[in-house]
């Protein structure tokens, strides 16, 4: 036998720990010990990751920053990354994604997101207007590759619009001291709608960044020729862009046409929808629910509306948090129109947030 027996003292402790855990489980059944511990401390280490709202700070008339105390399992983030948040709105758990706007290593361990309320937006309006300090939210670890590289680029350009400033603010707050030459071109409807206006303008006044504000209500939308004129050395800069779909499409086309595609990094808040399914009856076979869904409704939404416990994440096709086996039937990818079919027992994995029914289909959930 080649098995190495670890020294007594080392193994005794984990074994004792295991036994205690077993005992606690036997005592808590049919619940789990965590169900009782959560009553005392929902943010303790070992608990499902959660966050408590510490403060809600208004930013503009329709945006607010939420300062959060993450649970002890929080693994930290790289500026520019986002988190998934599970928020109970009118009693219903809704998951959305928000970029972190706080610097990476705040001494107090707090993190922050900044949310802009969009018309009829369920979660954004709740967070901006109704969320209160003390509320506990569900949280997931930070993710995303919209981040600054190390070593830092000599010259950086950020092009943002509206709430798209959020991941960039996270980067600036963390790493501006490591960036020598920063240009930020930011669009907002009016001067009052600029999120983080005071902080950005102060940085510009100090000469730490060059800030170009575009107030689109009077100035109109940012055009590519205008951008070239505003930033003559654009080709020399590593660029990050975040904002509405139209702007990002325009910028990607522009960088590509100038042969600079690799130097532009974009973060999208919404999926690029190009196709529609045909619609059909969606069966959630484990749950036993069945709904008629049209070809534009993501399976995720159809399931949620039918009360099915659908796993979810970014809701835009990037995190794979919503993947489920398609037992049979056909679904269409809303981003590119691709058709995925499965025959009885195949269990093809599909992203429910960007797939719609293309005929009858059966999901294993």
């Amino acid at each position: 036998m080649t098995t190495v027996t670890p020294p007594q003292t080392r193994s005794a402790r984990p074994r004792l720990r295991d036994r205690l855990v077993k005992l606690a489980e036997a005592a808590a059944t049919p619940l789990v010990p965590a169900d009782y511990l959560d009553l005392v401390d929902p943010l303790r280490s070992g608990a499902a990751l959660r966050a408590r709202i510490v403060a809600v700070q208004p930013e503009t008339r329709d945006a607010a920053t939420l300062v959060l105390q993450p649970g002890r399992g929080w693994a930290g983030h790289v500026p520019g990354q986002y988190v998934r948040l599970g928020v109970d709105v009118d009693g219903v758990r809704q998951w959305r994604t928000y970029s972190l706007t706080s610097p990476a290593d705040r001494a107090d361990g707090l993190i922050a997101i900044t949310v802009k309320a969009i018309p009829d937006g369920v979660v954004s309006n709740h967070l901006v207007r109704a969320a209160t300090a003390g509320t506990v939210l569900q949280l997931d670890q930070a993710a995303g590759d919209f981040v600054l590289p190390t070593p830092r680029p000599a010259k950086a350009l950020f092009v943002t619009a509206g709430s798209g400033i959020t991941p960039v603010m996270g980067m600036l707050r963390s790493a501006l001291h490591e960036l020598d030459d920063v240009v930020l071109v930011h669009s907002a409807p009016t001067a009052d709608d600029v999120v983080f206006a005071a902080e950005l303008r102060a940085l510009a006044a100090d000469g730490r960044i060059r800030l170009v504000e575009k107030h689109t209500d009077v100035d109109g939308m940012l055009g590519t020729a205008e951008l070239d004129a505003l930033v003559p050395d654009l080709a020399e800069r590593e660029a990050w862009a975040c904002g509405p779909t139209g702007m990002l499409d325009l910028l990607e086309g522009h960088w590509e046409s100038r042969g600079l595609a690799g130097r532009l990094h974009t973060e999208r808040f919404r999926p690029l929808v190009v196709a529609a399914g045909e619609g059909g009856t969606v069966t959630f076979s484990r749950t036993g629910a069945e709904v008629e869904a049209d070809g534009a409704t993501p399976l995720l939404q159809a399931g949620e509306e039918a009360g099915v416990l659908m796993p979810s994440g970014c809701r835009m096709g990037i995190c794979f948090g919503c993947v489920l086996p398609l037992r049979s039937g056909a679904v269409r990818d809303l981003r590119n129109g691709d058709l995925t079919t499965a025959a009885e027992g195949d269990g093809v994995l599909v992203q429910t947030c960007v797939s719609a029914a293309a005929g009858p289909c059966d999901l294993d959930v």
């Binding site: 036997a26 005592a27 059944t29 009553l39």
Partner: protein
């Protein structure tokens, strides 16, 4: 484990004629309603349901989370007090708290969560697909026998297996057999061992006898029940007594008492839901081509409410609103109280019986029926 084997023996079900009396069926089971009236009742009840669905919200979510939190505190507190159970006041208080916790868990929380009443919150921790409850019956099996069999075929003799739980004679139309002389005794046994009775009930032993169900399926189900029973028994009769060391006896006794109290209470509430005088039973033909409206009428006629205050409703899991629960099994239980007056008014308007009474009265009626039906 042996408790399973000691549980009440299954009935000689093959000797029970399947469907019997009762209320003439289509289109208006014993109610003297016209088809149009039945459909009007259906429309009105659908509208009532929509009204509640549209107003579900944060207050309801806060309600169930509050009940769950209080239940867990009660259980933890009760068990902690039982460690000091050598002192009689501590034993009494601990046992009372644990009994109340178990009742709350089964009645207001487990039963209703497993009905999917809270699935709309999309909280994986309070969801019918993930909940496991503090009783012998594994929730997966119970959801089939209860949510589907009982709620679909409510009080249809021969179909709804809650009519007598396969061991008692609870309908005039179940043919008498000398076995039923044991009706009163078996009822007491079922009451005391109710959680085992419910678990075994899922096995549908009578279907095995009539070869409708294979032994393999039963064996698989039995193993599932066995696993659950083992965990439950180990918790209440091994782990907690052992933790009390030399004071194990009061803990064991307290846990046993709490389980008994919960059994007797839930048996009483559940039997009073469908078997007091006034709650009708139906024959299988009733089911053929039954419309939504007819289904509603059958649910109302086959169920009986219990009168009481808010605490009583809570401890009965709001099954004191059995009529409303049977009309809308998946509406949050905390909303039954507010729709009950509207359902009652609807029944009055159309002359449909709406049975309701205090627990003691309804239970006496049930006991009387059980005794009477012991004889031919």
């Amino acid at each position: 484990m042996t408790a399973v084997l000691d549980a009440p023996a299954p009935a000689p079900a093959t000797e029970m004629p399947p469907a019997l009396r009762v209320v003439p069926s289509t289109p208006t089971p014993g109610s003297g309603l016209t088809r149009a009236q039945v459909e009007e009742i259906g429309r009105r009840l659908d509208a009532l349901r929509e009204q509640v669905l549209a107003s579900r919200g944060q207050a309801d979510a806060d309600y169930i989370r509050g009940v769950i939190r209080r239940q867990r505190q009660l259980e933890a507190g009760g068990r902690a007090l039982l460690f000091a159970g050598v002192l009689p006041p501590a034993w009494l208080a601990g046992t009372a708290m644990l009994s109340a916790a178990k009742i709350l868990e089964n009645m207001e929380i487990g039963h209703n969560v497993l009905h999917g009443q809270w699935d709309w919150m999309r909280d994986p921790e309070i969801h019918s697909s993930t909940w496991e409850w503090d009783t012998m019956s594994p929730s997966e099996a119970w959801k089939h026998s209860h949510n589907y069999m009982h709620h679909t075929y409510t009080n249809v003799v021969g179909k709804d297996r809650d009519v007598g739980y396969g061991i008692l004679r609870l309908s005039e139309e179940q043919a008498w057999h000398p076995y039923y002389l044991l009706n009163p005794v078996l009822n007491v046994a079922l009451s005391l061992l109710f959680q085992y009775g419910v678990a075994l009930h899922d096995l549908e032993v009578e279907k095995v006898l009539s070869r409708e169900k294979g032994l393999g399926t039963v064996w698989r189900q039995l193993k599932g029940i066995g696993r659950k029973v083992r965990k439950q028994v180990v918790k209440d009769y091994v782990v907690f007594p052992a933790l009390a060391g030399p004071f194990f006896a009061p803990v064991l006794l307290g846990n046993l008492t709490a389980n008994l109290v919960r059994n007797v209470w839930s048996h009483a509430i559940i039997f009073c839901g469908h078997f007091p005088d006034g709650a009708a039973q139906f024959e299988e033909e009733q089911l053929e081509g039954e419309s939504r409206g007819q289904w509603y009428v059958r649910q109302m006629m086959g169920s009986a409410n219990l009168d009481g205050g808010p605490l009583f409703h809570l401890m009965s899991g709001n099954l004191s609103f059995q009529v409303e629960h049977h009309l809308f099994p998946d509406l949050p239980s905390n909303r039954y109280a507010e729709i009950a007056p509207q359902v009652r008014a609807l029944c009055e308007e159309f002359g449909v019986a709406y049975t309701s009474g205090p627990l003691w009265q309804q239970y006496l009626q049930v006991l009387h029926k059980i005794n009477r039906l012991a004889l031919p």
